[in-house]
């Protein structure tokens, strides 16, 4: 009985830490889908890009992955703005069917995956840092640093973004464009420019999320697909447009996945997120804390 409880506790703790990381992964989509109504299913591809950049920096220069991600942030931001510009000109402005916008992102996802396979191959890649391996030993349980560091980075990112959105002029403009584009136009702000910045931010978060990912687990190009389900499950479950909701959903998913993995085996965990997503869509599409 004792062993079981220990196992349970560890599973829950890991799940919580993992959930924090999942939140980091989902923040980008919370912005692009939750606020800008752009279904960027290619977001996991950008995260993987971040992972591989961190991998190169780590294996070639010996740089810490998180540091590498921070250095790469501006590049990701610009990339996001460029992608949005293409999306806007090709789809949003033409007011075209969402069919083509979705296919565009799906195509990007695919191209990224194949491109990564061509450059890096299908082998798993990982990083070497002093904090992968050791754990923080607390009284009741152990917190692996490998999970704790990404968790902390995620929290910082989430809180930082939340503050940015609520305290700065630009952040509030982004919230405004999410709610009422016309009103924003009447206030003489350019909604397209604001959306471009917001999407740029969304992709910038992928840089850090990618670094966190490769710290937690080794990566290979096709794991992006697993994350689509997780990310959208979290955003839908948490309710679009609600950051706190997303955090709760992320933790919940993390715990459920961790428990499933511990007691049923890791090969079932990709299905968990998607199963949760399907059930949520069928039962309560507005999510836990949704509008």
């Amino acid at each position: 009985m004792d062993v079981s409880l220990d196992l349970l506790m560890n599973a829950v703790i890991s799940g919580l830490l993992l959930g924090g990381f999942y939140a980091a992964v989902s923040i980008g989509v919370a912005i692009s889908f939750g606020m800008l109504d752009i279904v960027n299913i290619a977001h996991p591809a950008f995260i993987l890009l971040g992972s591989y950049i961190a991998f190169i920096a780590n294996s070639v220069l010996g740089m810490d992955p998180i540091l590498a991600a921070v250095v790469a942030l501006p590049a990701f931001y610009l990339l996001g703005m460029a992608v949005y510009q293409v999306y806007y000109v090709a789809f949003e402005r033409r007011d075209d069917q969402s069919l083509r916008g979705l296919s565009f992102f799906f195509g990007l996802l695919f191209i990224a995956e194949v491109g990564l396979i061509l450059v890096f191959g299908v082998d798993y890649r990982s990083v070497n840092t002093p904090y992968i391996g050791p754990s923080l030993h607390l009284v009741l349980f152990d917190l692996p640093w490998r999970l704790l560091v990404p968790f902390l980075v995620s929290m910082v990112m989430a809180v930082g973004l939340q503050l940015f959105l609520s305290r700065t002029f630009l952040g509030r403009a982004i919230q405004a464009v999410a709610q009422d584009q016309l009103a924003l136009q009447l206030m003489a702000a350019n909604p397209v420019k604001i959306k471009r910045i917001a999407f740029g931010l969304s992709i910038a978060t992928a840089s850090l999320a990618g670094a966190c990912l490769i710290i937690i687990q080794p990566v290979e190009p096709s794991i992006g697909r697993e994350y689509i389900g997780r990310v959208f499950a979290i955003c839908v479950l948490g309710g679009l447009g609600s950051f706190p909701g997303m955090m709760i959903a992320a933790m919940t998913l993390g715990i459920v996945e961790s428990l499933t993995s511990t007691f049923f085996g890791p090969s079932w965990s990709p299905a968990v997120a998607f199963g949760v997503l399907l059930v949520t869509l069928a039962v309560r599409p507005s999510g836990i804390l949704g509008r």
Binding site: V39, I111, G229, F274, L281
Partner: protein
């Protein structure tokens, strides 16, 4: 051209193609032909829900694999079952799953349906990977019979013939839909669902019909696969290539008519095969994705659409 004569023309074309392949007596031709024709069926199936009705299905691999794996199961349980029967079963199973998914999600925005289909693909893949009866992650071997029933010769000839038959049926169905009130209903849903509903179109019912037809044909296209590849494992059966190709080909060829997926499959499939043979098999896979993105941005009406505009 009315429906009846059209089917006859299709059958005639298919017979000529098959006859040509037989005369060439080159099994490479049969293998490549099978793949291209399979993509015509997949693309047509996708297009019924995507191009005609406006709902994007990303879970092609789920339906395709349901068809493939139901053949594996049937082959193990009833080895004597003829392939056409397996195709029917695979199609029905996939169609039911399609309608089920649709029922759960088609009352929401189209975007949620698309995301749900992505989810479905992974769920089905996980279920099958964990199912030992079909080999789980290790995969399953399926013995291909030595000779073809009915027509004699290699079994691959028979597979090609079957796929041609499926192709004729799916194209005839697509064209029949286009000209019928069902097709008008689909178009109305695609253009403006709320206005369609207000005009009396039972949108949920029609969407479920589209989803069932689309999923069903995909399942049917997948049913012969185990015999084609002889070794089926989840990572190849659920390969993203199927999904991207099935979407890219109609988008490139043109989504508004039955001809689009055909043009797309022949051109893109042909190009892929050429690249695979000349450069590498990794690059050919990239082609569909890149072309899709390019076409979706620059020529949303596809190749057929470009020709239509030139004529006007």
């Amino acid at each position: 051209m009315r429906g009846g004569p059209f089917i006859l023309v299709l059958i005639a074309v298919a017979a000529v193609i098959f006859g040509l392949a037989r005369w060439l007596d080159n099994s490479y031709a049969f293998f490549v032909g099978y793949v291209v024709v399979q993509y015509i069926v997949l693309g047509t199936a996708w297009n019924i829900l995507g191009g005609y009705t406006g709902y994007v299905n990303f879970g092609i691999t789920a339906f395709f694999a349901i068809g493939a794996y139901s053949s594996v199961v049937l082959h193990k349980l009833v080895p004597a079952m003829p392939l056409p029967a397996m195709i029917l079963v695979g199609g029905v199973m996939a169609g039911i799953v399609g309608i089920g998914t649709g029922y759960l999600t088609l009352r929401l925005r189209g975007v949620y349906f698309s995301i749900a289909t992505l989810a479905l693909a992974v769920v089905v893949q996980t279920l099958i990977t964990n199912w030992d009866f079909v080999g789980g992650a290790r995969g399953a071997y399926v013995l291909r019979p030595r000779t073809a029933p009915l027509i004699g010769g290699g079994y691959i000839d028979y597979l090609f013939l079957i796929m041609l038959g499926l192709c004729v049926i799916s194209l005839a169905t697509a064209r029949a839909i286009e000209r019928s009130s069902l097709g008008y209903g689909f178009a109305a849903i695609r253009d403006d669902e709320a206005a369609a509903e207000a005009s009396g179109v039972p949108t949920l019912k029609l969407k479920l019909i589209a989803t069932g037809l689309s999923g069903g044909f995909m399942g049917m296209a997948g049913a012969p696969l185990p015999f084609y590849v002889t070794y089926l494992d989840p990572s190849s059966g659920f390969s993203l290539n199927y999904a991207v190709n099935a979407i890219a080909m109609p988008l490139i060829g043109g989504t508004s008519t039955w001809l689009g997926p055909v043009v797309g499959a022949v051109l893109v499939g042909g190009l892929q095969e050429y690249l695979r043979v000349t450069i590498s098999s990794a690059v050919n896979v990239l082609v569909a994705g890149v072309l899709m993105v390019v076409f979706v941005i620059i020529a949303p009406q596809g190749i057929v659409g470009l020709f239509k505009r030139k004529r006007q």
